[in-house]
Amino acid sequence: MQFTYSPTVPAFYATMLRIDHTTFNLTWDSTKGQTVLVVQTPYGKSPLDQMEAICEKMSAASLAEDNYTEVMPNIWVRLVTAAQKVRNKGCPIRCLASSYTVFCCETQGDTCLVHAPQGPRNVSVDIPAQMNFSVQRQTTMVKSGFLGLGAAREVDTGFYSLTFLDPCPPGYQDGDIFFTMGGLRIPVTRAMLEQKVVYFKTPAPPMPETQNTGLQLLQR
């Protein structure tokens, strides 16, 4: 099927995109009976400027039935028919720390027209992800005195443990979270998140940072 990005037509609208907090699915209002296109992009990014290119890629790609398909780097699309919307009570999100935009489609034979939204508002939703972590200084008890018969005392080992309290969010890219130590930028990889606990030998507590506006780091 050929996909074409077409101008706004008042009769074909998809708007009020939001999260249903009971199902955690996307839901929206659209022209009755029409299929909609859900586009997932990196957090805070809008696909509106790239829709023509996205439609070209969709025309060439084999789109998964009832699932997301990556048509461009970090851009995923999913077609949702009216029946699927009712059955699934919306559309499940693919991953957190992303933005989603909805467009109304109109099928004319072998061509699917993807209509531009009628206003910038209410057609997109940004879904952040939260990552809780804790940092603890690692110490050990060392016995003092002759032959270790004195009282034990706590001694700093020079290590810090960083524990990631939440599972790795889907779609996490290596380097979304990083540390800055000694002028070096050290990325946190997916493997480190899955391991949960990482030890650092450093004089100061390691504090993770992120430049992904969709990822919120919260220290516990």
């Binding site: 008042p10 708007t15 009020m16 999260i19 249903d20 907090h21 206003g119 508002r121």
Partner: protein, 513 residues
């Protein structure tokens, strides 16, 4: 048997005291007088024929039904306490050349009018329906007159008005809060909203249709302008019908009034409009988000926007004025009229910036009905769907407008917070630019239906103000909870003692239950 409260002057009268507008109207020139005479005075002065009295009687009969300026009606609308002229529209009358309020008012109890009315079998002149409700009178010339009017102010009463219990509901908001658009959207879809809760809704008069014709909300077309603040718009009448347990049909009438908020803080205007608040059984208070400081602080300056800085335009000032009016000197009593505090335009970008994202999503979702196995709405208010929103809005107001919340808490016994969007789309240059999708506009109305007893709540309903039931002994409202330590009451009988528990105590009569 049937007592009617006029929805204009609020005087109460029996259904038998109602007056009627005549269907017979004398128009054009009178052709009863012979051609030689200029007018009735000339005829009386010069005519000497023996049939003079007969001709005079015919002329008086013709003249009685001539269109007149109704003094009672004019006094209500144009008098010193009037509203700057009537807002009643009569499209049919405009085509016929005789407006409804210019037709002669017939009083079946007036001997002078009875000579024109056909006497009924019971000796009276009123015609009753099968329920014994006075509906019309009949002229000797055969016309059936069923346009009922109040006997005091001569304002029109819709058909069947007064037959069923009536609840008055007043919508208040400052100019620009969105009252007109809200009302237009609400009444356009009222049948569907009522069906969600198992009610049928029928408009009782043409006012709703005329209101919609004059206040169209259409995509890409200018929104209706603000109604003049010192004018009284025609009330909107609806009959709500439901099937009670047992299959019995129950009908209630509810009336909507539109009152500008400025009319509530100006003493002169309050004198005229106050009656629509005093007699209300429920009040909608519409607040534009821009009345909140937190919203104003992030909104770019717009030189064309109205000012929200003056005290007169604050919701708190309106609430104080309403309480003072309703309390009527009893400053230590809370106003018992349920107050739906509604934040309009809840889907704007500024609201999304200051509200919790989850709350924003809930505010733009649809009100979920509770249905039976056939898909018909149950007559219940979906508290589970509403309570999280009420809680979120309450927290927002507590954090950002504590004075508003405190005013409500101290002065009102029953209130709750609502948020809706009457358009559900952007507005540019005064025109809605997207598909018009009202969100949650029916929720405050359904809450008032619950307060009126039309609906039961499903589940625990969040309320910002604790509510206590009235005293079952004296009916007083000075009720407080009994302290925990005193709730167990032990009563000694002859050979035994009995312990029971009380929860409330009445401050008026001391009764505990």
């Amino acid at each position: 048997m049937y007592q009617i409260t006029c929805p204009y002057c609020f005087r109460t009268f029996s259904h038998r005291a109602v007056h009627f507008r005549s269907e017979r109207v004398s128009t054009g020139e009178c052709d009863i007088l012979p051609d030689d005479y200029y007018d009735i005075n000339d005829f009386q002065a010069r005519y000497q024929g023996q049939d003079k009295e007969r001709i005079l009687a015919m002329y008086r009969d013709w003249d009685f039904f001539r269109p007149v300026d109704d003094p009672e009606y004019s006094k209500f609308w144009n008098g010193p306490d009037g509203f700057g002229g009537t807002s009643e529209r009569d499209p049919a009358g405009e085509k016929l050349g005789v407006l409804a309020f210019n037709r002669r008012v017939l009083n079946p109890g007036d001997i002078g009018h009875q000579r024109y009315l056909r006497q009924q079998r019971d000796g009276g002149f009123l015609i009753y329906d099968q329920d014994g409700f006075a509906t019309n009178v009949e002229l000797l010339s055969g016309e059936s007159c069923n346009r009922r009017v109040c006997p005091h102010c001569h304002n029109p009463l819709p058909p069947q008005y007064g037959k069923h219990p009536v609840k008055f509901t007043t919508v208040i908001g400052i100019t620009g809060a969105g009252k007109t658009v809200y009302l237009a959207q609400l009444i356009r879809n009222l049948s569907n909203y009522a069906a969600k809760v198992g009610l049928s809704c029928v408009a009782n008069n043409a006012a709703a249709r005329l209101f919609l014709d004059e206040n169209r909300v259409i995509q890409n077309q200018p929104l209706p302008g603000a109604s003049p603040s010192n004018r009284l718009l025609q009330p909107l009448f609806y009959d709500l019908i439901k099937t009670a347990p047992g299959g019995r049909k129950e009908t209630q009438t509810f009336v909507l009034f539109d009152v500008a908020g400025e009319n509530c803080v100006d003493p002169d205007l309050m004198h005229r409009f106050g009656r629509f608040i005093e007699h209300a059984h429920g009040i909608f208070l519409l607040i534009d988000p821009k009345q909140f400081d937190v919203i104003r602080s992030i909104t770019p300056y717009d030189p064309h926007a109205g000012s929200y800085d003056e005290p007169a335009s604050s919701a708190t000032a309106v609430l104080d004025a309403i309480h003072n009016l309703v309390a009527q000197g009893k400053a230590d009593e809370k106003c018992r009229i349920p107050m739906a505090v509604c934040i309009s335009k809840s889907d704007t970008e500024e609201m999304r910036q200051v509200m919790v994202p989850q709350l924003c999503d809930m505010m733009v979702s649809d009100v979920e009905p509770i249905t039976d196995q056939f898909g018909r709405g149950y007559p219940v208010f979906n508290a589970a769907n509403y309570s999280p929103i009420a809680y979120g809005l309450h927290q927002f107001v507590l954090a950002n407008e504590p004075a508003l919340e405190q005013t409500l808490f101290n002065n009102y016994a029953a209130y709750n917070y609502f948020a809706f969007s009457a358009l559900g789309c952007d507005v540019q240059n005064g025109c809605p630019v997207g598909p018009i999708l009202p969100k949650r506009i029916e929720e405050p109305l359904l809450w008032l239906f619950y307060r009126f007893g039309y609906l039961a709540p499903s589940g625990q309903l969040y309320t910002p103000a604790p509510e206590f039931p009235p005293c079952p002994q004296c009916g007083g409202y000075h009720v407080a909870p009994v302290p925990e330590a005193e709730r167990a009451v032990t009563v000694r009988h002859f050979l035994r003692k009995e312990t029971y528990y009380v929860t409330y105590q009445c401050g008026d009569c001391g009764y505990r239950w």
